[in-house]
Structure formats: structure tokens, C-alpha cells
């Protein structure tokens, strides 16, 4: 008896549709509706999908995403759920009723959110810079740094080392200042091209690359070229690199 329901997403629809064997491990995916919203699920055992094998996990995650995108394609707006959200039935069993009750309880909120994300998609924007390139620029343009750099040339070996450390410290501070400045500048420019934005944690990159900003953006795919244009301008700046992926279902905005 399948006492669990793996929930992929919530969509705006009233039919108890059957979407075929497109789920994780080729499970049969179908919908449990409540009025005009519906939860897209597959029946499973009440245990989470876990594996030591990276390939297997990747396969599952891709299947999870595929279901969500299929529904999104058919029905327009979806509220995606995270991987491995499995609702279990209580002692009496009826897990389907539980799903319905949950949809009922949060009906207003779910509907509002579906409206909010309708027709929109999530995009990932990551801006990085080459610290070496930028550092060189700064040393060439900043007076304090220029002076210190000059002083070092005239020093003896040991003293030169010490002064180089001071230079590095100062450079570090200037880089941080510059990073802040750029962040705010890009944040404003990108913000004006999209509907909503979320700041995510920076990812560690290989030296001398350093990530400046990691954004999740919610925007209209038909208008996304404005964002594309802005990102193009940024990536054309010497020492700057942009990573732009999407469209994704709106995971970060639900």
C-alpha cells in the first residue's frame, strides 16, 4: 500500500489529470485537486529517496525538475517544491485527503502566489571578477596605491617584503570598497530589469576569480532580453564575468 505521496508542485488547475510515467523512477504522476488548484504527486513508500551514488541522485533531481517543467508548460504557473517532499498518511491511511486538506487550508495563499508568478520564470545571475586584473587597474589608478608601489622599488629586500605586505593589505581594503560599489551599481541596474530579486550566498571560485554577487531573479521570459543586454554590458567590462542561467521554475520566489 503506497502510504506516501511525493509532491512535485502546486498548479492552477481543476482536473485530476494523469501525466504519465514521467516521475522519479518512472513513477506515475497525477494530480490531486482542490477547487481550482492542484498538487502534482506520485504515490510512493513513506521513505525519502536517498542514495550514495551521485549519478542516481542527479537522475532523480532531473526527473523532479522535468515533472515541474512539464506541468508549467501545460498549465502556465506552478509553485515548485523542494526535492524529497513526501507527505505520509496518518494511522487511518488517507494521505490523499491530507493533501486536499492542506490545499484547502492554504488555498488563499497558494492562489495569490500562483498569480504572482504566473508567466514568470527564475533566472540565475552571478557576477565575478578577476582580482588580479582589477588589482592591477586599482594600483594604476589609485594614488595611495601608486605611491606605495613606487616606495617599494627603493627599499632593501627585507623592508620591501614588509612594505609589500602593507600594500597588499591596502589593496585588499580598496578591492573590498570597489566590490561594494560594483555590487550596489549592478544590483540597481539588474533590479530595474526584473520583477523580483533575491540575494544568494556567494560561491567559492578558483583564484584569482572571485564572485561578487549571486542573484536569483524573477522575470518575464518575453522581457528578459533587457536583463540580457545589461548583463552583456557588464561582461564586456575588463575583468568582469557573468554567468546567466535559466529559465527555471520560480523555486526562490514561492
Amino acid at each position: 500500500m503506497a502510504e506516501g505521496r511525493y509532491v512535485y508542485c502546486v498548479a492552477a488547475d481543476s482536473k485530476a489529470a494523469r501525466l504519465g510515467n514521467i516521475g522519479i523512477e518512472d513513477n506515475q504522476v497525477y494530480a490531486i485537486p482542490y477547487q481550482d488548484i492542484t498538487a502534482v504527486v506520485h504515490a510512493c513508500a513513506p521513505t525519502p529517496y536517498e542514495s550514495q551514488d551521485k549519478e542516481v541522485v542527479d537522475k532523480w533531481v532531473v526527473a523532479h525538475e522535468r515533472v515541474i517543467e512539464t506541468v508549467q508548460e501545460e498549465l502556465g504557473a506552478v509553485l515548485p517544491l523542494g526535492f524529497d517532499t513526501i507527505i505520509q498518511g496518518n494511522d487511518q491511511g488517507n494521505v490523499e485527503q491530507k493533501v486536499r486538506d492542506w490545499l484547502k487550508e492554504h488555498y488563499e495563499k497558494l492562489k495569490d502566489t500562483l498569480d504572482r508568478v504566473k508567466g514568470k520564470r527564475e533566472y540565475v545571475v552571478q557576477v565575478s571578477w578577476d582580482t588580479k586584473t582589477i588589482a592591477k587597474e586599482l594600483i594604476g589608478s589609485d594614488q595611495e596605491l601608486k605611491d606605495l608601489h613606487q616606495q617599494i622599488k627603493a627599499k632593501s629586500k627585507g623592508a620591501a617584503y614588509m612594505y609589500r605586505q602593507t600594500l597588499e593589505k591596502l589593496l585588499g581594503a580598496k578591492l573590498e570598497q570597489e566590490a561594494n560599489r560594483r555590487f550596489h551599481d549592478f544590483y540597481d541596474k539588474i533590479g530595474s530589469c526584473v520583477d523580483e530579486m533575491k540575494v544568494e550566498k556567494l560561491k567559492k571560485e578558483e583564484q584569482p576569480r572571485q564572485m561578487l554577487m549571486n542573484l536569483s531573479c524573477l522575470g518575464d521570459p518575453k522581457e528578459i532580453h533587457t536583463l540580457g543586454g545589461e548583463l552583456e554590458r557588464i561582461s564586456n567590462m575588463t575583468g568582469f564575468f557573468v554567468r546567466f542561467t535559466g529559465p527555471w521554475p520560480p523555486y526562490s520566489f514561492v
Partner: protein
């Protein structure tokens, strides 16, 4: 610039993984929860810093490798605070509780709930009640400003509880908490001691001071810990406290009181210059003479303020109407000759060689470890 999406490709899989774990709609229902795994691979400092119990909670002893870790990474579910039926929340704020257990001492943070039944600190991530006190157990509340390592001053709330415990808390809304707590506790019929001032309280004393006990002297002092098992007599660092009820010594390492004597059992004290180790020569040693189960004992402490302590202790003894016993003579139980009490206890009888059972123990060879 065009956004990139390659279905089969790895380039964007990492973005998908970022989204699919820890994002998306959250359901507060009976979910099947997978263990939030942070695998133990030889050295895991994070776990050591978080504390033993949390480690076990997270299934630390499982042997997982990086592949599993990648996707189990931050997949933790938040659980609602376990409120009882009819329990009403009066104040819901954030706070930390100073947790002390053995050598693990740390501030544990969480959501602080003041309800009509209790004060509770709850950590959602691991669904654990970090601290809980029924309102009827609260006998007093005092607030003290303390400076923290960050340089900022913060208000520490000292909560006096039934059973003579004191809890240290740091709360976001200190005054709100105090006001509401005082009101609620008194409504529950308990009289709060409003005269508490948290004087002399710190993270050490609050863990062992009894209700109504006040510290009059304190200082860093080494203590000669008696032989035990395979351990010889050793000098250990710690703090000596004289309160209105006892003299006690706090072991810095174990973080607890390992020696104490009620004030009325203190007979006197002397200070001598001794060599307490081949390296530490000419140190001031305070020998405390006290009574225990009818016989006299000596406890030794060492530190710069030994003379001050002797003065304070002798004053204490005098105020209790006794003469300090540094000069008092005792009779040797074996040969009957008279000698200074201290001499008899510490070195034995010069005449017949009698030694007290205690001294015998001290001089006996150390138990060999197996």
C-alpha cells in the same frame, strides 16, 4: 546575452541542485524526514564546536561520503514549537541560553517563548527545547550588564530557579521579558524576590551558588588535589570562593566545585613558603585547617593572595567566636605527646612517628596503572 540551460549538461545542473534543495514551497505536515547529514570524515571541527549532543542528533556517526553530503547538505526541516493545549504565547522573541555540561559550555540560540505556563527556548532546526522553566519554578530574575568579546555590552538575564539553579540568558527584548515574566509569575501565585541584584554573579558562580548565597572573597588559587586512583597529589588551577555559607574551590578544567567546607567548620589557616614543584619554588601556600567528620584536615591552596586569604579566614573564625588554630596544640593519639596541630596533621608525630590515616594515604605508593 542569453540565459543558458542545457538539459543534460552539467553546467547548469549545479544551479538546479541549488534550487531543488532548501528552496520551494514548505509544507508543515507529517513529512518523511531524511537525516540531515553532515558526515564525519576524520576531522570535523564544526561538529566539535556545535557540541556532542547535536552531533548525535544529526547522525554524525554515519559513514557518508561527499556524494550523499552534496544533496543532503542543508535539507533540514523546521518544526513548530511544541505548545501544549490551552497554552498561550505571551512573548515570542529571540534569545540564547548559556549551556554548561562538563567541559562543553556554549551559548545555544533559539526562539524564546514566554507563555502562560512556562519560559521556553526552542531550536526549530533540530526541534529541540534548549531550555524550559515552568513559571512556578521561577523564584527571581535579575539583569546585569556584561561586556562580551565583541566589545559590545549586553544585558544578561539571571533567572533564579527552584532547586537553587541559576540560568543565564541573553534576550533580544530584555525589558519586555522581565516585565511580562514578573507579572506572570506573580499572577501564578509565586512571590518573586525583587531585591536580587545579580551582584557577584558571572558564568562561573551562577552555576554553583545556592539561593541566597553571596560571595565575599574570590581569587585565582591553585589547589592541591588529593590522591585518587592512579593520580598522585597534583596542583590544579582554579578559583577559590568564600561565601556566607562556605569556602569552595572551582576547578577550571572540570568547571565545577571539587572542594568545599562549611564556614563553621573552618578552624584556621597558615601561610608558608614552599616548593610546590621542582619548577615552582618559594611559593606562598595557604593551608586551611578544618573539621570534617570529627577529625581535623588540611587543604592546601597556592597563589599570590595567600596572605590576604589567611587574614580573611582568620577574621571569619574570630567572628565565629573561636581562636584561630594555627597555634593550637593537639595530642598525638599514639604516644600522647603534645605538638602543634598542624605539624601533627602534615608531618606526623616527631616523637613516635605516628601519621594520620589521611597522611598515610598521601604517602602511600601510587596505584600502578594496568
Amino acid at each position: 546575452m542569453e540565459p543558458v540551460r542545457d538539459w543534460k549538461g552539467r553546467a547548469t545542473l549545479v544551479d538546479l541542485l541549488d534550487r531543488v534543495f532548501d528552496k520551494g514551497v514548505v509544507i508543515h505536515l507529517d513529512l518523511i524526514i531524511s537525516v540531515a547529514g553532515i558526515p564525519l570524515l576524520g576531522v570535523n571541527l564544526r561538529a566539535a564546536l556545535a557540541g556532542m549532543e547535536t552531533m548525535l542528533e544529526y547522525g554524525m556517526m554515519q559513514d557518508m561520503d561527499m556524494k550523499t553530503r552534496m544533496w543532503e547538505a542543508e535539507h533540514r526541516r523546521k518544526k513548530e514549537a511544541p505548545l501544549l493545549e490551552g497554552e498561550e504565547v505571551i512573548l515570542n522573541t529571540f534569545g540564547s541560553y548559556y549551556y554548561m555540561k562538563g567541559i562543553y559550555n556554549a551559548w545555544k540560540s533559539g526562539r524564546l517563548y514566554l507563555t502562560n505556563l512556562r519560559l521556553m527556548l526552542y531550536q526549530q532546526d533540530i526541534a529541540e527545547i534548549v531550555f524550559e522553566a515552568p513559571l512556578t519554578n521561577i523564584t527571581g530574575i535579575a539583569v546585569r550588564k556584561e561586556s562580551s568579546f565583541t566589545g559590545k555590552d549586553k544585558d544578561i538575564v539571571y533567572l533564579y530557579l527552584e532547586g537553587k539553579k541559576i540560568a543565564r540568558l541573553n534576550v533580544l527584548e530584555t525589558e519586555e521579558l522581565r516585565r511580562n515574566l514578573e507579572r506572570l509569575v506573580e499572577e501564578a501565585g509565586v512571590t518573586l524576590d525583587r531585591a536580587l541584584s545579580a551582584e557577584g554573579l558571572d558564568e562561573t558562580t551562577s552555576s554553583f551558588l545556592m539561593e541566597g548565597e553571596q560571595v565575599s572573597c574570590q581569587g585565582k588559587m591553585w589547589y592541591l588535589m588529593p590522591k585518587s586512583g592512579i593520580m598522585v597529589e597534583t596542583w590544579r588551577p582554579g578559583r577559590l570562593y568564600l561565601t556566607n555559607t562556605r569556602l569552595c574551590w572551582w576547578n577550571d578544567f572540570d568547571k565545577r566545585i571539587v572542594f568545599q567546607v562549611p564556614v563553621d567548620k573552618i578552624s584556621g589557616s597558615t601561610v608558608e613558603i614552599k616548593n610546590i614543584s621542582p619548577v615552582l619554588r618559594g611559593q606562598e601556600v595557604l593551608d586551611l585547617i578544618y573539621g570534617c567528620n570529627g577529625s581535623k584536615m588540611i587543604a592546601s591552596f597556592s597563589g599570590k593572595s595567600a596572605e590576604d586569604w589567611k587574614k580573611a579566614l582568620n577574621e571569619l573564625v574570630a567572628s565565629q567566636g573561636q581562636a584561630p588554630e594555627d597555634r593550637e596544640k593537639e595530642t598525638c593519639p599514639q604516644c600522647g605527646s603534645r605538638a602543634l596541630a598542624k605539624e601533627l596533621l602534615q608531618k606526623g608525630c616527631a616523637k613516635c612517628g605516628w601519621v594520620s590515616p589521611r597522611l598515610q594515604k598521601r604517602m602511600a605508593p601510587v596505584l600502578k596503572a594496568r
